[in-house]
Each structure stands twice: as C-alpha cells, then as structure tokens.
C-alpha cells in the first residue's frame, strides 16, 4: 500500500469541472491539460509578469511629468484620475513580485546556487528606487526630479498651460530619463529571458496547433479582404485595426478603465448580494422555495432590455445606472449557483457531520461552504464577462462619453469601423483580464479542486 495513486475515489458527487481554464498558469502550462509537463513544470508566468512590469514602468513614466502627461497621446490616457494610482500600485505590485521570485529561497531556479547574483541585487535596488519615485509622485504629489532641479512641486500636478515653467519641467524630465532606462534594463535582468529560450520553444511546440490556426485566420482575414475587395467599413483589415489600436490605445485604455469600473462595482454588488441571498435561501428552505421561481423568472428577462429603464431610474449620465444593470445581471446566477452549491453536498459527508453531532454553523463552515466554492466560482467567472457586456451595452443607451460603449457606438455611427473594432478589442481584453483575475483567485483559494490537480 505504499503506492500513491493520483486518482481520487470515484463515485461520489463532484463539483462541476471548469470547462474553460483561463488562469495564468493554464495559459502558461499548455501541457497540463494533457497531463504531461513539457517544460518541467516551469511556466510562462514570469514572462507575463515581466512584460506587464515593463508596460507599467513605461506607462507610469508618462504620469510623472506634465510634459508627457499633457503633450502626448499616450499621456492623455493617464489624466484619468483613478487610472493613475491604479497604474502606480500595479507597478509596485508587479515589481515586488518580480523581485520576490528572484530572491525566493524556495525557488532555486532563479539561480542554480539559490543565491542572487550582484547583478540581480543591483537591478532590484534600481527597480525599487523607481517604484518609490513613481509612488511618491502619483500618490503623494512629491516629484523627486522636480525637487532635485528646483522646480516647484505644484507645477507637476497643475495643468500644462502657457504660463507653465516648460524649460524647468524639461530639465526635470531629462533628469528622470536617468532613472527610466536603467529601470527597464533592471526588469529585463530580473526577467532573464535569455535563460528561458528552451521554455519558449517548448511552449510554442506544445501550442503549435492553436497558434497556427490563429495565424491562419488572421492571414485569411487580411488576404480575403484584399482579394475580394471588401469595403473597409464592412470589415476592416486586421492590420488596419492593429494600427488604429496602436495609435489610440491610451485613450481606449482610459475609456476601458472607466467602463471596467462600472462592470467591477456592478459585479461586486450583484454577485455579493447574490451569494448572501443564496446563503439565506439555502439555510431557510421555505425562503428558497418562495424565492427561486421568481428569481428564475426574473433571470429569464433579458436584463439588457431594462437598460433604458435603468437609465431613467438611476440617471442616464452617471455610473449608477450601469452599475445597477450589471448588478442585476450578475445577481441571479450567483444566487442560484450558491444555492445549488450549498445544497448538493455529498450525503455521506453530511452524515459524517451528523455522526459528530456537529452544529449547523460548524457544518456550514467546514462542509457546505467549501463544497459550494466551486459552484460559486463558476458563477463568478461567468459574471466577469457578463459584467463587461452589461457595462458596455448600458452605455449604448446613453452614458458618460468617457466609456468604451459610448466610443463603440459613436465610432460605428460615424463609419469609423477600425476605431470601433479597436475599442471592441480593448473591451474583450478587459473582460479576459477580469476573468483571469477571478480564476486566479479561485485557484489560490482552492488549490485542491479537481480541475487544478497536477498528475
């Protein structure tokens, strides 16, 4: 009996398997689905992290000097007041993680000896300095390059007008370049992509088929439009969309962020209340029996159809109406899944609890809740994409001009189809990112779940 079998006892109730696994690790570990580890359990998570850190370091650089913030398209995106701190904190988080995995004593892969090299130490110090510089500038309005060049701090947060001290700001900007280039180098040093070439090769080999299909679809799309001479306003070429995306993405990012905030709060309120209602309904059977048919009936209403009414109720131009739409869309799936999860507990496990004379509360915390988590998370994952849909469609019926939905409707109305497609691309990127974040939380909370088990 010394053998360790990886198969679980069969025959008992299993929570639903995640059908689409879009977590960071699933992306990075393409062989996992087929139970072989093509690159020794190493993942592309580090590469993703390093690329995000590079992007955020560059993006945050735009934020720290009004010359960049107001004079470049790129910077204009980050005048969005809530996006700035998010970028800065995101940079701090990714930089911290990147440094951590380089110094994690458990991760001997960073260095065969398990000791960071002087190069890694210097790179980490530079990165920390940069993060501190950005955090101080964004969160506390203290700009170090300004302090060193003797520019008034107020000039950094004020709008760039004709009276702005442009020369002084330029000097401060030149000084800050001393920091950004070493920072980018540092991130690459901590990333060490040159050591990871075999992993990339293996990842490409393992994903050869889907990569080929994707390339083929893009090539066909591009080629057929040229060959068949399809009008650009019907369907633009992918290269045109990509060019427009590259040009507009700072503004689209800002618009996407505004829309995402509505989606997020709607998601949080709707799913949160749904889960709480599910708890109540599962606890009080009468409550559940009274409420469930109504819930299912309301859920059958295409909530989008209520968008104009919600706009009327909560105000057309503000966020509340969009949040209300998203909350309504995500409430019922969360509630129904929670009820299902809490009530479809393995009967033997319940008898076990009864044999211990366990109380209601202990049974709930130690059995029902963990059993329900997979159900709750599958509802939450569906809700992530639903919430982006709700937030965008809500804007079609009127709303802030700073949102993605408004941009898509407006651009399409003006026959600016490449722009509309670029906005759609950004919208789906936000949806996918949201999904990945929730999936990662799920994986962190329940690494034991059947769909995450490594063979």
């Amino acid at each position: 009996m010394s053998e360790v079998s990886s198969s679980a006892a069969s025959g008992d109730l299993r929570p639903p398997r995640a059908t689409v696994d879009l977590t960071l690790e699933a992306f990075a570990r393409p062989g996992a689905a087929r139970n072989d580890a093509p690159f020794g359990g190493r993942t592309l998570g580090r590469d993703l992290l390093a690329l995000i850190a590079l992007f955020l370091a560059l993006a945050a650089f735009q934020v720290q000097n009004p010359l960049l913030l107001y004079d470049t398209t790129f910077g204009s995106a980050f005048r969005n007041a809530t996006l700035q701190p998010v970028l800065a904190l995101g940079l701090a988080l990714t930089a911290g993680l990147l440094i951590f995995i380089n110094f994690n004593p458990k991760d001997r892969r960073s260095d065969p000896l398990g000791r960071p090299s002087p190069r890694q130490v210097i790179a980490s110090l530079i990165l920390m300095l940069y993060v501190a510089y950005i955090l101080a500038a964004v969160l506390f309005g203290f700009n170090l390059s300004g302090a060193l060049t003797g520019v008034e701090q107020a000039a950094f947060t004020a709008r760039l007008t004709d009276t702005a001290p442009r020369d002084a700001l330029q000097t401060a900007l030149n000084l800050s370049f001393v920091l950004i280039y070493p920072t980018l180098m540092s991130i690459i040093v901590l990333w060490q992509p040159w050591r990871r070439l075999p992993i990339y090769a293996a990842a490409i080999r393992a994903n050869a088929a889907p990569l080929l299909v994707a390339l083929l679809v893009l090539a066909l799309w591009e080629g057929l439009i040229v060959v068949l001479n399809i009008q650009a306003f019907l369907l633009p070429r992918p290269s045109v969309i990509a060019a427009r995306l590259a040009e507009l993405y700072p503004r689209l990012l800002s618009a996407g962020w505004n829309t995402f905030q509505n989606a997020f709060w709607g998601f949080a309120i709707g799913s949160g209340l749904g889960i709480v209602a599910g708890f109540a309904a599962a606890r009080f059977v009468g409550f559940s029996r009274a409420l469930l048919p109504l819930a299912i009936a309301i859920n059958a209403v295409p909530i989008i159809a209520l968008a104009p009414i919600m706009n009327r109720w909560f105000g057309e131009l503000n966020s509340a109406s969009k949040i209300a739409i998203v909350a309504l869309m995500t409430f019922f799936p969360a509630m129904v899944s929670t009820i299902k999860g809490l009530t479809s507990v393995d009967p033997l496990s319940l008898e076990l609890m009864k044999s211990y004379a366990a109380g209601q509360l202990a049974t709930f915390i130690k059995l029902r809740l963990p059993s329900a988590l997979p159900y709750i998370f599958s509802a939450l994952k569906v809700a992530t994409t639903l919430s982006m849909i709700g937030a965008i469609v809500g804007e079609y019926f009127g709303g802030s001009t700073a949102g993605l939905g408004y941009r898509i409707r407006d651009d399409a109305g003006l026959f600016k189809y490449p722009e509309a497609w670029a906005a759609i691309f950004v919208a789906s990127a936000f949806g996918i990112l949201f999904y990945i974040v929730v999936s990662s939380v799920e994986r962190a909370l329940m690494p034991w779940h059947v769909s995450f088990r490594e063979q």
């Binding site: 009996m1 990886s6 008898e351």
Partner: protein, 261 residues
C-alpha cells in the same frame, strides 16, 4: 460481560419513492458486549446498513428499543460515543490528511496543539505518518480508507461502526486492510466494533460473532460464534475452522435467500 449495545424488538418501515411501504427491519433483537467484534452479514436489501445507521442514530427506528452505552442512541451520538466509517472514505478534498483527521476534534473544540498531537498519533496508528501533509486525492483508495479509520478513532470513542468499509477495495488490499484493522483493534482495549460486510471470508476472519441477516423483511437468521484463536493472521485463513465457518455461513445465507424465492 456487559452489553454495550442492546437492541430489542427493533422495527423499521419506510416509504419508498413510489409510495410503497418497505419493511426494512423486523423484530431485531441483539446484544453486543463491550470489546466485542461483531459482523453483520447478509445479501443486499437485508437491512444491515439500516441497522447500523439506527445504532448510530443517523436514522430513526419505527419501533422497538435501542440503547448504546446504556443510553438512548441519540444521547450516545451527541456524547460522541462512536466513530463511524462509511463505505466511501468521505474525506474532505480541501483538507490535508492531517486536517481531515483533526476534523472531529475541531468540531469537538479541542485545543489546536492537542488536536494535532492526537491526529498525528492516529496517523501513526494507521501507519500513514509520512502522508500527513498530502491531500486525500493523492492517496490510493486503501490509504484513504485508513485515513478515515484514523479520523473515526481520533476522538477516542469506545465503539467503532463500520459500513462495508473495504467493499470498494480489491481482494488483496482488502486482506491487508483486514490485518490492519485487527492490529488497530487489538491495540485499543475494550474497543467494540460493529462491522457490516457482504464478504463471508472477511466476516469470519475478523469477528467474534457473525450476525447473519435475511432480506424482505430484514431479520436475524442466525448468530454464529467464531471460535478461532487470536491474534489472527494469514495462517488463520488456512485453518480447518475457517473453512468450516465459511461454509456454514454460506449455507446460512443461501437458506435466508432461498426462503424468499
């Protein structure tokens, strides 16, 4: 010998899903002494699992009297007088092996240090110490069932109720588990075991007494004393007495079924 479990004129009828009344147990009378190893054997539908669940107060009898440790079955359950081992290991996937064994101690509000010490001692008893930090699904079926035995014994109950615990295992593993169980049982003085099985050789090998049940309605057909020396081991299975008891049991079971065909 004092009776630790006493069952008198026990009846159980229940309504099946199609509304028919099913007579599951009919006039069961049984006394079980402290420290005894008793097996309940019978064909499926004879009510042996139902009887075990009534002893455990997991279901209610329709009539008759039952005392466990001299008290009503419900009191015995709330006093945590017995540990129950189900046919499936019923381990919680989200807990490590150690945390699974600690589960009853958590519910009974033992202190953390004591919980862990006891759980580790139990894992040592079932010889799974090195798997304490594994998750259940990383273990084989036999190992999972041993964890579930460790969990049932963690709070030191005087009675162990086992419902076909090795039914899902292959023959070789089952025989090893039988030896494990006897070793554990003999190391715990005065531990009473009631063991439901449908395996004749398992019942003979393990038990002091075998209760043979017949179906529709579930009745006790015969109670057989197994008079074979302990400690028992592989050589026990080669004894003439073993064959004698096995064939006696087989006949008794066949008669019980034949009456209803």
């Amino acid at each position: 010998m004092t009776a630790i479990i006493s069952i008198q004129h026990l009846n159980k009828t229940y309504r099946s899903k199609d509304g028919a009344s099913v007579h599951a147990l009919d006039d069961i009378n049984l006394d079980i002494a402290r420290g005894e190893f008793v097996s309940l054997i019978g064909p499926s539908g004879c009510g042996k699992s139902t009887l075990l669940r009534i002893i455990a107060d997991l279901i209610q009898p329709s009539g008759g009297a039952i005392t466990v440790n001299g008290k009503p079955a419900k009191k015995a359950r709330t006093d945590r007088d017995y540990g129950f081992v189900f046919q499936a290991p019923t381990l919680y996937d989200w807990r490590t092996v150690l945390k699974n064994v600690e589960l009853p101690l958590e519910i009974m509000k033992h202190h953390k240090a004591e919980r862990e010490a006891r759980a580790r001692a139990m894992l040592q008893l079932v010889e799974l110490s090195e798997f304490a930090d594994k998750y259940p699904w990383q273990l084989s079926g036999g190992m999972q069932q041993r964890v579930s035995i460790a969990r049932a014994l963690a709070f030191q109950p005087g009675i162990l109720l086992m419902d076909e615990p090795f039914g899902a295992l292959d023959e070789m593993t089952r025989e090893r588990m039988n030896n494990e169980l006897l070793r554990i049982w003999s190391s715990l003085p005065d531990m009473t075991v009631i063991f439901v099985t449908h395996s004749i050789s398992e019942a003979v090998y393990l038990s002091d007494r075998v209760v043979v049940m017949s179906p529709r309605p579930g009745r006790i057909a015969e109670i057989i004393d197994i008079d074979m020396p302990r400690p028992r081991g592989t050589e026990t299975r080669d004894l003439d007495a073993f064959f004698h008891y096995s064939s006696h049991l087989r006949h008794s079971l066949r008669e019980g079924i034949a009456q209803h065909e």
